[in-house]
């Protein structure tokens, strides 16, 4: 396969990973109306979980992935219960700052437990040097998960409840929907997707450090905003856009030093043209 197509496929796969992470941001925002800035660190925890199970305990890779997903899911639920639920109804600023605090807390705990020394976690050694296969697997699984998520949201009872809470939390509660439970499920799904993203991230970049979550976190958040925060298809489109821009800029020697600048400049431009993102709902304020 020619270099161009390998790169293009890699870009789509990277976009798929960003999209998986962006879904976590966008679902939590859409349903709980908060920005969960600790979301990126769930990826980091997922990677460290893989480091412990795969490298330190030598478990088979499929088991490591399952453990990482379960661990991140429980962690997401735990964080929601311990840090965000007590603040439900308080000012958005308080919740935002709590999220930043949770992020630092997770990073610090991992730093104390594992030191700052970087680690390499190669889950699939046979895929090393084969970017095409890595990209195809990533893209395939990411697409599958996104389709499953859309079906889940549209056709299951809890999915309908999620949409209802997102539409109008007060009315949903009056109709007998357990809002706390719905928000908990949202966090669980977001965190599980982050764990899957962590696995794919490691397939591409097997570098594990306690600050590794911040970069994919901020890029995926931008992807969610580009696509229109709160919108699930928007997160997917945003993720793909970020992946394409990044790989494109990284491939052109003159642009390599400006990759991030270009990515965020495009975010600004899109927000200037469509303030609520590509697929975001425009809110009509009644005066």
């Amino acid at each position: 396969m020619s270099d161009f197509w390998t790169l293009a496929l890699g870009a789509l796969a990277l976009g798929g990973v960003y999209a998986l992470i962006a879904l976590g941001y966008t679902m939590v925002y859409g349903i709980a109306k908060m920005l969960n800035f600790a979301h990126g660190d769930i990826i980091m925890v997922g990677a460290y979980s893989a480091f412990v199970t795969f490298m330190m305990l030598g478990m088979p890779v499929w088991l490591c992935i399952i453990i990482a997903i379960i661990f991140c899911t429980l962690l997401g639920i735990g964080i929601e219960k311990a840090a965000y639920r007590p603040l439900r109804g308080s000012s958005p600023l308080a919740i935002l700052i709590t999220a930043i605090g949770v992020s630092y807390l997770m990073e610090s705990i991992v730093y104390l437990a594992f030191s700052s020394a970087p680690k390499n976690v190669v889950l699939f050694p046979s895929l090393q040097g084969n970017p095409t296969a890595t990209a195809l697997i990533t893209l395939g699984v990411a697409t599958l998960l996104m389709v499953a998520l859309v079906l889940f949201i549209n056709y299951t009872k809890i999915g309908k409840a999620m949409r209802a809470v997102s539409e109008d939390r007060g009315a949903a509660q009056l109709m007998g929907i357990n809002v706390n439970f719905v928000i908990m499920v949202t966090f669980a799904i977001g965190s599980a997707l982050a764990a899957v993203a962590a696995v794919f991230w490691l397939m591409k970049t097997p570098l594990v450090t306690y600050t590794m979550g911040s970069l994919p976190g901020i890029k995926a958040f931008s992807a969610a905003v580009i696509g229109g925060i709160g919108s699930i298809p928007g997160a997917m489109i945003g993720g793909i856009i970020m992946g394409l821009i990044e790989t494109f800029c990284d491939s052109i020697p003159g642009l390599q030093s400006y990759t991030m600048a270009i990515e965020f400049a495009i975010l600004v431009i899109i927000l200037l043209i469509r303030p609520s993102g590509l697929l975001g709902k425009t809110k009509r304020e009644k005066v």
């Binding site: 020394a117 090393q128 970017p131 390599q256």
Partner: protein
Amino acid sequence: MKNTLKKFAASVLAFSSVALLAACGGKNYAANNEAIMIGGSGPLTGAYAIYGTGVKYAAQMAVEEINAKEGADGLKFKFEGKDDQGDGELAAQNFNTLYESGMQVSLGCVTSGACVSFAEGGAENEVFMMTPSATADAVYKAGVYQMCFSDSGQGKAAAKYIKEYYKDKKVGVLYNSTQDYSKGIYDNFVKELGKDNITAEASFTDDQTASFDGQVNTLKECDLVFLPIYYTPATTFIRAAQGKIADGAVFFGADGLDGIDGVKGFDVNSFPQKISMLSHFNSASTDTATKAFVDAYNSKYDPDSLNQFAASAYDCVYAIYGMMKNYESKGNKIEMNISAKDLNAILTEEIKTFTFSGVTGSNIKWAADKTVDKSPIEYEINPSRIHS
């Protein structure tokens, strides 16, 4: 309000006492010395302890060897190494403590930032300083002679090395354009090698770039990639390069690559490319002087603490000793209680014509700006790599 005032008063007090401490480094009790006191400061505890420990041991060892060689009537030395944890403030305090207790000549500090703080006192009191390992350009600019390459010197040295030993290779460079260290080496490298001799260049901006796919694609034609970057992003790059950059290629780094073989899960020998770095010391060398040093060190101290920093410290002590011997060979005599200032005058004069050979190189000279002039060696990090 009261509390704020108290805090303010306390900080003013703390500040003035620090200033006082800094100002009272004036007294030097070298007059009572019975051996020339060499003082140094480096991290002996904390995250960088491995660097300081090696330096301390090696300097100690050099001093013992020289004392044994010189006998009762000759020159005598003693070495005092203080812990600064790599911190500038502690290093400045260490200077004062050492100076007051009679330090006559110094190895400066092990790490760059601390060395600059340490050198303030050294320059003010005219103490001769030669650091084994602080590479920043700010260090020699602060008045410290370097036994190691300066950051800008590394780029030049790497280019010269490539011109000599890898003339036929298609050279590529990957650097971090937002990092002073990387950009500094890159600029000097390109200047020395010439733009025309570089096949491809790639850069990145963050140590945790998502992937190096694009950069690898830019560099795929190259069979030598110069990597003046830290070892953390280098692990990601080398992995991404598999299957794209030729198996027989060379990944050639600067001192930032030191430590790449210690990354958990990154087995340097599992890659078909040669991973090597510009250095001035190879512990596996068969050179007689180096072998004698390595054997002596390993029999005395923890072999894990032996690195290029330790070797460089060993050479620093011998270089200072060599200059003093040169001075004495001209019919002069150095007393054991000579003041730091007088010894500095002797050494700064001697170093202008001094040529030194040690375990980190031979025919070593120093330029007027205090940087070192020596030939670098290529230290192979993965000698038992797989060959396909």
